[in-house]
């Protein structure tokens, strides 16, 4: 879900001018959550994951399409409310538009919130006149009774304005045509900030004109100089290669302009600039937008139900439990079916190998090691994921996740963290590595680090099925609807454990090594959108299926071989695996586990999917995984090896709370650039899990 490795792994776009493949380069800008990714996908045919919440695009992505024999490169830059960068994403967006060298910038706007969207669009117009306005979500706005006269808007702004409903494919061809036929506009709308400011800026603009020589808009630069926007200036200086304000032709003009502002009594130029843009936006909307203000009644009723004191949290937990119930109930049959299928193919493979005269040791390693582990991973892991993710994606597309972040924000505030951490936790459900990358949506550095360090406390898709298997084998008996319901509740309990641990650890971090006050996050709550159910199901099913299958082949297969070897190679009178598990047994027992389980978690470092097959292989006397046939035979094997429900509970807790997988750790290293934080990202959950498991084992065991 969330960000799949596909979208995370996409190459960060470099400067457009370095791109030799294309004839036209286009930067795609816009506020967060205006359907920018949808427009990007519609234009390029790429499947950038889209979701109904702000900050989906945390990495710039580049895609291409051909139109009338010309190749167009489109760069999807991070969503930004403004170019007055207050976050890393906004800074990246500003720098890309200013210095990325794109031929033109398409600014995607939400027709339903045009006034605020124009804040960004008008700032971009200050930077470059080469702009196309794509007014998206026209259909949604219409439902709310809002109509945008794009023709009038285009006449006033002087640049093309394309009405769109990108989700339905409307306006995409028109946008392509507008990009293809774009010529720099003879005039483009300029925001006027009042006589006093304009008079002061005019002289400075002229001086800058000569110095900048078209490398950057003189008006934009003049306003930033007057505003004294330190970070913007730093970037301007860096890109131009000299200090602009102290340039001999600029410095006197700047001084004069500042004096003029002073004389005119302009105290806070920054306020004037922001207010000026908004007054202009208000004026434009008065001319070009009709109808609809305020929130829809139905929408408001749903929102109040989802956020009320009495219903907000219960509805959230019920939804989660419902999704788990459907997952647990629905996954059984396909799991059995897949396993039987793999068994049959395995038998054929086995005969084939025997017929080829392959030595027994090689045959056993391949069939009893590699094939069996692969079978388990695919048949047990795949069905729950194939059911869970489409449902979760539906909630995401609907716009529910920001409401969850809204509901839980006070908990995070008390923990000295940011409510948006919920969104990164939700991404962690899919893949903790993606969750860690997603932490970029959190503006405060301190709070982002907290979110990174705690992300793996939420069980990812590799760990879910372990929990489901443990619950159905030991914690909830039977297989009826009632027990599926109990299993779903138990699974919800494990998620609450992960969320509780996240809050607790965040709180401890805020009071110790990451001391600081909670910052002032602003969270946008987008209107609910009807998800395109068919597309969601197909997309998440395909993406997930391919992802899990790929991972199974890449990790589970070699792991199967390794474990088979360890279980069959002998040192003296014991196998390598037995020697290791024996050595770890005291530690394992202390944690309510045993040496085998602990070894499985250690060997499961590259991928948690392999934990249960390793446990089974180690227990099985012959050192091979005898196949699970059904959960009853598996339970029998585990019970023979001393498992009780307490063992299962401790294993479940340790599944939620232990070191993250290697991919996640590498991602933490990449995101924080620090070995220390990476080590902590592994140590913190492990310590939490060890303490909790030891407590459970000694109280209940």
């Amino acid at each position: 879900m969330g960000l799949t490795l596909r979208s995370v792994g996409k190459n960060a776009a470099s400067d457009a001018k370095d791109d030799l493949r294309s004839d036209i380069t286009v930067a795609l800008a816009g506020n967060p959550n205006v359907g920018k990714s949808t427009v990007f996908n519609a234009l390029t045919g790429l499947r950038q994951h889209t979701g109904n919440w702000s900050g989906k695009t945390v990495v710039t992505a580049r895609g291409y399409y051909d139109y009338k024999g010309r190749t167009v490169a489109v760069t999807d830059i991070p969503g930004a409310y403004s170019l007055r960068a207050s976050s890393a994403e906004e800074e990246a967006a500003r720098d890309y538009i200013a210095f990325g060298g794109a031929d033109l910038t398409v600014v995607v706007c939400d027709a339903g919130a045009l006034e605020r969207n124009l804040n960004l669009a008008l700032q971009i117009l200050e930077l470059t006149p080469n702009v196309i306005l794509a007014v998206n979500l026209m259909d949604e706005a219409k439902k709310r009774g809002i109509a945008v006269d794009t023709g009038a808007l285009s006449r006033v702004l002087g640049v093309p304005v394309i009405p769109m409903a990108a989700r339905r494919g409307r306006g995409v061809e028109e946008l392509r045509a507008a990009i293809d036929g774009f010529t720099p506009p003879p005039f483009a709308y300029t925001v006027r900030y009042g006589e006093d400011v304009e008079r002061a800026a005019a002289g400075l603009e002229m001086a800058l004109e000569n110095v900048l020589k078209g490398r950057l808009g003189a008006r934009y630069t003049a306003l930033r100089l007057l505003e004294g926007d330190g970070r913007a200036l730093e970037n301007i200086n860096g890109h131009l290669g000299f200090d602009v304000p102290s340039h001999p032709d600029v410095a006197p003009a700047l001084e004069k302009a500042r004096a003029e502002l002073n004389n005119a009594g302009v105290e806070n130029i920054s306020d004037r600039l922001i207010s000026g843009i908004y007054s202009a936006a208000t004026g434009l909307c008065r001319e070009c937008v009709s109808g609809g203000s305020g929130y829809g009644e139905g929408q408001l009723r749903i929102d109040r139900l989802l956020t009320r004191k009495a219903t907000g949290i219960p509805v959230m937990l019920l939804l989660l439990a419902l999704i788990f119930f459907i997952t647990v109930k629905g996954a059984n049959a396909p799991s059995d079916w897949l396993y039987a299928l793999f068994e049959r193919i395995g038998a054929v493979l086995s005969q084939g190998l025997a017929a080829l005269g392959v030595p027994k040791a090689v045959h056993d390693a391949l069939i009893l090691g590699v094939w069996r582990v692969l079978s388990y991973v695919v048949s047990v892991m795949l069905p729950p994921m194939a059911i869970f993710f489409p449902m979760f994606t539906l909630l995401e597309d609907l716009g529910y996740l920001p409401r969850v972040a809204f509901n839980l924000d006070s908990g995070f505030r008390k923990a000295g963290a940011c409510g948006k951490q919920c969104l990164t936790m939700a991404m962690g459900f899919g893949c903790n590595a993606a969750g860690v990358v997603g932490c970029r949506i959190i503006d405060s550095k301190r709070e982002r680090l907290i979110a990174v360090l705690t992300n793996s406390l939420v069980p990812c898709n590799g760990r879910f099925p372990i929990l489901i298997a443990l619950i159905t084998m030991f914690l909830v008996a039977g297989s009826g609807v009632g027990s599926s319901l109990l299993a779903a509740l138990a699974l919800t309990g494990f998620i609450i454990l992960g969320a509780g641990a996240t809050l607790a650890v965040s709180r401890v971090l805020s009071r110790t090594i990451l001391k600081g006050e909670a910052s002032s996050p602003t969270l946008e709550l987008p209107p609910f959108r009807r998800p395109k159910i068919g597309e969601v199901v197909v997309r998440s099913l395909l993406d997930r299926t391919l992802f899990v299958l790929g991972r199974a082949a890449a990790v589970a297969a070699p792991a199967g071989l390794l474990i088979w070897l360890a279980a069959n190679l002998r040192v003296g009178d014991t196998t390598v695996l037995a020697a290791v598990t024996g050595a770890l047994d005291p530690v394992g027992r202390f944690l309510g586990l045993d040496g085998v389980i602990l070894t499985a978690f250690i060997l499961g470092l590259p991928a948690n999917e392999t934990v249960i097959p390793i446990i089974i292989m180690a227990y099985a006397a012959s050192g091979t995984f005898e196949g699970y046939e059904n959960l009853d035979s598996l339970r029998a094997l585990l019970t023979q090896n001393g498992w009780t429900w307490v063992t299962a509970l401790c294993t479940g807790v340790f599944t939620v709370l232990h070191w993250p997988c290697t991919t996640t750790l590498l991602t933490v290293k990449k995101e924080t650039g620090s070995v220390k934080w990476t080590a902590l990202a592994a140590l913190i959950p492990t310590a939490a899990g060890a303490i909790l498991c030891a407590l459970i084992a000694h109280i209940l065991g």
Partner: protein, 75 residues
């Protein structure tokens, strides 16, 4: 009449006055559209009463109480 945005009751509308925040936060709040004279409506609150969701220039934005208190309301 509520004196600042944090005290604006659910379902009430008001007009933004001065922004008491300074620096980065001031710029961010204004950038969201909370400029003097702008209309704002409090839509609903989180289960704990904080944060609250406000309609600001066509978008719904959640603000924490401590931050909303820095936005004065006109008159």
């Amino acid at each position: 009449m509520a004196s600042n945005l944090a005290r604006l009751g659910e379902g009430s509308r008001a007009v933004v006055g001065d922004i008491a925040a300074a620096g980065e936060l001031r710029r961010r709040l204004m950038d969201l559209g909370l400029t003097p004279g702008a209309g704002v409506e409090c839509l609903f609150a989180a289960p704990s009463g904080d944060p609250r969701a406000y309609m600001i220039r066509g978008s719904v934005i959640a603000l924490r109480g401590a931050d909303a208190a820095l936005v004065a309301l006109a008159r």
